[in-house]
Structure formats: structure tokens, C-alpha cells
């Protein structure tokens, strides 16, 4: 039971972690605001679904589009002027971005949890002595599906190829006639979509509340354990973190899942510094 629920959540963490990887690969920036992009995406979905009363599919698509726009907007407004600045200032900017996003959300929607909306119909199924809910099954499936789609996009499309090129080095790609800025912009947009979907799926099970942003905290170790350069690694890392979270909180209790994920992260760093699927850069400085 713990294993199953771990995998379910892990799929979503993997999806969010994919957002980290998308941005990191393109620009070597770790986006600390990912959890808050997730929060904003989930609340936007809530706005379309509950406040405007749109049908589920329309609300989902609108929220995804909004997430894409939010991601692109963030890149345009805050990260682009920083191109060429030290990495550390880019990372701190994403940290402050998380403050701004959280503040915006609580200014518009308040700090209390919002009224619950069901994203998918909830029915429980018995499967070999275990009780599963259709909701979590669909959520898990959707998360894995979207993650798979993003990975395929990365691997097989022109833009995906360009993105991988940007990850290799900006100058070469620029000289091949690919706009680095546009690619960076698109990768932030895609990260926004990944965060939004993750947020909607989590909001459906956990409720739409500010605490959703905590998932960003779990997705960071997921992305790192998998290796920051590897999309597949992010999904696997997400599953691993989800598993360990549910097992540890199941046996230890007391919300020990998040610290456990970070303990694993630090242990990974000690023994496999670039994660399990990451690019090993040998640099002895």
C-alpha cells in the first residue's frame, strides 16, 4: 500500500522535477520558484474551473496555456536581463521569485485553502487486496504520460533538439542560427506547463492550498538524485523520492518524508555527486 501510494505521488514529483531539468539543461539555473509556479498553476486552474465554471477539459487547457505564459513571462522579465551575470545572482533571483509568486497568490486568493473541486471522479477499486482510487490512478497515469511526452519532445522534435544544443553551449548554437533566447524562453514555458499539470493533479488529491508549494521542495531532491541533466533521471528520481517519502512517513511518521528525501540527496551527493543519470563532469577544483 505504501509502495503504491509512493509511486503515485512519485510520478507527480517526477513531472515537477522534469521542470527543474528543463530549465537547468538549457541555462544551468536551478529554479527554486518551481514549487510556486506549481502553486500558481493550480490556483489558475481552480479559477477557471470553480470561479468561471468552465468544463474540465477547457479549464485544463487554459491552465496549461496560462502556465506556459507565466513561465515565459518570468524568463523574459527576470532572467533575461541577467544573462551574463554570475550564476549565483540568477539562482537568488529565482528564490525571490518564489516570494513574489507566493505573495501574489495569497493577495489574490487569500491564505486559506480554497473550496475543493474534484478534478477527476473518485471511485475506489480493489486490486489484489489493495484499495486504489481512480483519481490517483488517473493522476499517476497523466503525470507519467505528460512526462513521457516531454521527454519525447526533447528527443525527437526540432525545438527539443535545439534545446539540447543550447544545453551544450550557447555560442555554437547561436552560430548555427538558433536563437538561444527563444529556446530559453520556451524551456521556461514548458517548465511552467509541467509545474501547472503537477499542481492540478496534486490539488485534486491534496486540496488547493498554499502548502502545495512544498512539493517544489520534494522535486528538488528528485531532480538531483536523477541527475540534473537527465529528463528520464528526473522521473525515476521522482519515483524514488515518492517511494521513500511514503515509506518513511509510513513507518517513522511525523511528516518525515521531506527530510528523508534530503538525507537521500546529501548521501547521493557524497557518493555520486552528479546523480544517477547525470553528466559526470570531471573537475578537480
Amino acid at each position: 500500500m505504501l509502495v503504491i501510494s509512493g509511486v503515485m505521488n512519485g510520478a507527480i514529483y517526477g513531472l515537477v522535477a522534469l521542470g527543474f531539468v528543463l530549465i537547468y539543461k538549457a541555462s544551468a539555473v536551478l529554479n527554486f520558484a518551481q514549487g510556486y509556479m506549481l502553486l500558481l498553476g493550480a490556483y489558475l486552474f481552480w479559477f477557471f474551473r470553480a470561479t468561471l465554471g468552465l468544463p474540465l477539459a477547457v479549464a485544463l487547457l487554459l491552465a496549461m496555456a496560462a502556465g506556459f505564459l507565466v513561465g515565459m513571462l518570468i524568463e523574459r522579465l527576470t532572467l533575461r536581463p541577467l544573462i551574463g551575470q554570475p550564476l549565483i545572482s540568477m539562482i537568488t533571483v529565482t528564490i525571490f521569485l518564489s516570494l513574489v509568486l507566493e505573495g501574489l497568490v495569497s493577495m489574490i486568493w487569500g491564505t486559506y485553502p480554497l473550496q475543493h473541486v474534484t478534478v477527476f471522479h473518485d471511485r475506489s477499486i480493489r486490486m489484489g487486496g489493495m484499495v486504489l482510487t481512480t483519481q490517483s490512478l488517473i493522476a499517476c497515469g497523466l503525470a507519467l504520460g505528460v512526462a513521457g511526452a516531454l521527454i519525447a519532445f526533447f528527443r525527437f522534435t526540432r525545438i527539443g533538439l535545439a534545446m539540447r544544443g543550447v544545453a551544450e553551449g550557447h555560442q555554437i548554437v547561436q552560430s548555427m542560427g538558433i536563437s538561444v533566447r527563444r529556446i530559453l524562453n520556451i524551456s521556461w514555458g514548458l517548465a511552467g506547463i509541467a509545474a501547472t499539470i503537477g499542481g492540478i493533479l496534486l490539488g485534486g488529491t491534496l486540496g488547493f492550498q498554499l502548502a502545495l508549494s512544498q512539493i517544489g521542495l520534494l522535486a528538488i531532491p528528485a531532480a538531483f538524485i536523477g541527475g540534473l541533466e537527465s529528463p528520464e533521471g528526473a522521473v525515476l528520481g521522482g519515483l524514488l523520492v515518492g517511494l521513500s517519502e511514503s515509506i518513511v512517513s509510513g513507518y517513522v511518521g511525523n511528516a518525515a518524508g521531506v527530510p528523508a528525501a534530503f538525507v537521500i540527496l546529501i548521501a547521493t551527493m557524497l557518493f555520486r555527486p552528479y546523480g544517477f543519470f547525470g553528466l559526470e563532469r570531471i573537475e578537480r577544483v
Partner: protein, 356 residues
């Protein structure tokens, strides 16, 4: 020389090393420094600004300056990002608080153990990351924030509930009111600031800057990067621990709620706004953000009552948005922070009326 110059006039050079390395080079600078210190310590006696409210703000700012100085040494001088500074403040606070509350150690004896405990735990978390470049320290410090807070909440029963701490005493005086504790806080703040300023122009500080600017070149110059990064981290967390020790003895109560991830982010915002790699910038940033925070805390609830369509909690959201955007603006438009503006003003003063 008609008037006493603030800067050494051009053409006049120091003829001994001792003269050259002085922080305060001219008589006027020395006079201003002493006057500043006197003013700082006279604040509780000046009517109008010596209400407990103002003094509390100043004490809070002073303690925050200590924590931020540490952070600036690590992040600004040595170039390693620390997003868990408040967790180390917590370690210092609880160590010093527990020594005082349960073993009866006086405040003065418990400050150093508080700082050392924080530095010890800091080094523990620093080891896996300092061997790697880039953002890895940011991650372990984030991990430290989460893991240490969790341990304090679930692992140790005393720290989860919070406990009372005795006020600092010196002879027959108990520093239990803002008026009295103000002096303790300012002595520590001034001393730690001076120490940081001195440290950063020593061999150690130059090594930190070399690592920040180009780690390969630094290694080539014979700087042991692993050791110096760890040392920077130890100094940073030591400052955090001292700040924590001061904090619990000032509040006379140790509780977990004062040490959240958000506090760590506040510290970062302060040093970014003030100026990375600048001691006076740290002070500017802390004062600026503290004042801004107070203003928003006054304006926010007013806006909330005037504009009833805003949801509950909008005021706290406003605070986050304002501080976050200011920090981003500084990061994008003025990466060197207020300290840079300050040095421009100083240069203007020095060159006036013949700029260029």
C-alpha cells in the same frame, strides 16, 4: 590643508605598512567613527526614538546584521550560496538557550558554545557540497534547513515546545528590557562588524575573494579551496550561532517559529539589496529591509480594512511581493547593491567640485 580631509589627499602616501592598512586613515574618519559609536550607544537616552518599539526594531536589526554578516562572508565574499542561514541561527539559539535554561550557564559563557555548535553542524553539512562547484551548497543548506527544523520539531521535545531562557546578567544588572539589552546587542553587533571588516582584508578574506572570482586560478595560486570553502562556511555559521544566542537571550524565550526557511530568504534578500561582498552594505540592507517591513506591516492591514474585496492574508502577501520584487530589482538593475551607490556618493564627495 585648510580643512581636515576625509580621504588621504592625493599625493600623500603612507610611508609605513601600518599606516597603509589602517581602516580609519585620517583624523576626520577617526572622529566620525567615534562620533558614530557614541551616537549609536546614546540612542536609548534620546527622547522620541527611545520607546521600546523603536529599540526593539534596532535590537532586531542589530541581531540580524550579525546573521547577515556571516551570510555575506560566505555568499558575497566566497561566492557560495547558503539558503539555510536561519537553521544555523536556530542551532546557536537552542544550544545557548539550553545551556542557560537547563545547566544554568550565564549568557556570556553560552554565546561561544552557541556559535561553535552552529559552526560544527554547518561544517557537517558543508562537507558534501564544498567538493563540488556551483549550486550544490545551496542544496545542502536547503537540506540543512529542512532536516534541522524537523529534528528540532520531532526529535527533541524541549525545542519543539519552546522554553524560557534567563536574561543576560552582569553583576547586579539583568538585561531584561529593550533599554538594557540594547547595549548588549549593540556591543556584539559593533564588535562582530569590526571583526568581519578586519577579517575580510586579511589573507583569509583575500583567499575567499579569489575563490569567488575564479576558483581555478585560486587553486593555481596555492589556495586550498576545500579548506577555505569549509572555513568560510564555518565562519558564516558561527556568526549565525552568535546571532541565535543573542536572540534567545533577548526574547527570553526560545521557540521554533523564529527560524523558518522564509527567514533564511529574508537574510539573502537583505545582503543582495545591501550589496554582496560588502560589510557596510550588509548593514544598509538590513536597515532598509527592516524599515520596509515595518512600513508594509503598518500599511498592509490598513489597505486590508479599506479594500474589503481583498481576501484574508492579503497583507502578508503584499509584504512578500514587495520584498521579493525589490530584491529582484536590485539583482537585475544594481547587482552590487546599495553599497555601490554609497561608494559612488563617497567618490562624489571626495572629488567634488572637480569630478572627472
Amino acid at each position: 590643508m585648510a580643512r581636515a580631509p576625509f580621504y588621504p589627499p592625493s599625493g600623500v602616501y603612507a610611508d609605513t605598512y601600518a599606516k597603509d592598512i589602517r581602516i580609519l586613515k585620517t583624523r576626520k574618519q577617526r572622529f566620525l567613527a567615534v562620533a558614530g559609536l557614541v551616537l549609536l550607544f546614546a540612542v536609548p537616552l534620546v527622547p522620541g526614538i527611545n520607546s521600546p518599539y523603536h529599540l526593539r526594531l534596532l535590537i532586531g536589526a542589530g541581531i540580524t546584521v550579525i546573521a547577515c554578516l556571516g551570510l555575506n562572508i560566505l555568499t558575497g565574499y566566497c561566492g557560495q550560496l547558503n539558503v539555510g542561514q536561519s537553521a544555523f541561527v536556530m542551532v546557536g539559539a537552542f544550544t545557548s538557550g539550553m545551556l542557560n535554561a537547563f545547566l544554568g550557564w550565564p549568557f556570556w559563557a553560552s554565546v561561544l558554545p552557541g556559535g561553535l555548535a552552529a559552526a560544527g553542524i554547518g561544517v557537517l553539512f558543508g562537507i558534501p557540497s564544498v567538493r563540488l562547484k556551483g549550486l550544490y551548497l545551496a542544496l545542502t543548506t536547503l537540506g540543512a534547513q529542512i532536516i534541522l527544523t524537523w529534528i528540532a520539531l520531532y526529535g527533541i521535545t524541549v525545542t519543539a515546545a519552546g522554553f524560557a531562557v534567563n536574561p543576560a546578567r552582569l553583576g547586579g544588572i539583568a538585561f531584561d528590557t529593550p533599554q538594557k539589552f540594547y547595549y548588549v546587542a549593540m556591543v556584539f553587533t559593533a564588535a562582530m562588524t569590526f571583526f568581519a571588516r578586519n577579517l575580510m582584508r586579511s589573507r583569509l578574506g583575500r583567499a575567499f575573494i579569489a575563490i569567488r572570482d575564479n576558483d581555478r586560478a585560486a587553486e593555481g595560486m596555492g589556495i586550498d579551496i576545500f579548506r577555505y570553502k569549509l572555513l568560510a562556511f564555518a565562519i558564516c555559521t558561527f556568526y549565525a550561532g552568535v546571532a541565535g544566542a543573542l536572540l534567545v537571550h533577548y526574547m527570553m524565550w526560545a521557540q521554533l517559529e523564529s527560524f523558518t526557511l522564509q527567514d533564511s530568504i529574508w537574510y539573502l534578500a537583505m545582503i543582495i539589496v545591501g550589496g554582496l561582498g560588502s560589510i557596510e552594505g550588509t548593514v544598509f540592507g538590513v536597515v532598509f529591509i527592516t524599515v520596509l517591513k515595518e512600513l508594509v506591516l503598518v500599511v498592509g492591514p490598513m489597505a486590508q480594512t479599506r479594500l474589503p474585496f481583498l481576501p484574508i492574508g492579503a497583507a502578508s502577501g503584499l509584504l512578500l511581493v514587495i520584498i521579493g520584487s525589490i530584491a529582484i530589482l536590485f539583482g537585475v538593475l544594481e547587482p552590487r547593491g546599495m553599497a555601490h551607490r554609497w561608494s559612488l556618493i563617497k567618490a562624489f564627495y571626495r572629488l567634488w567640485p572637480f569630478g572627472y
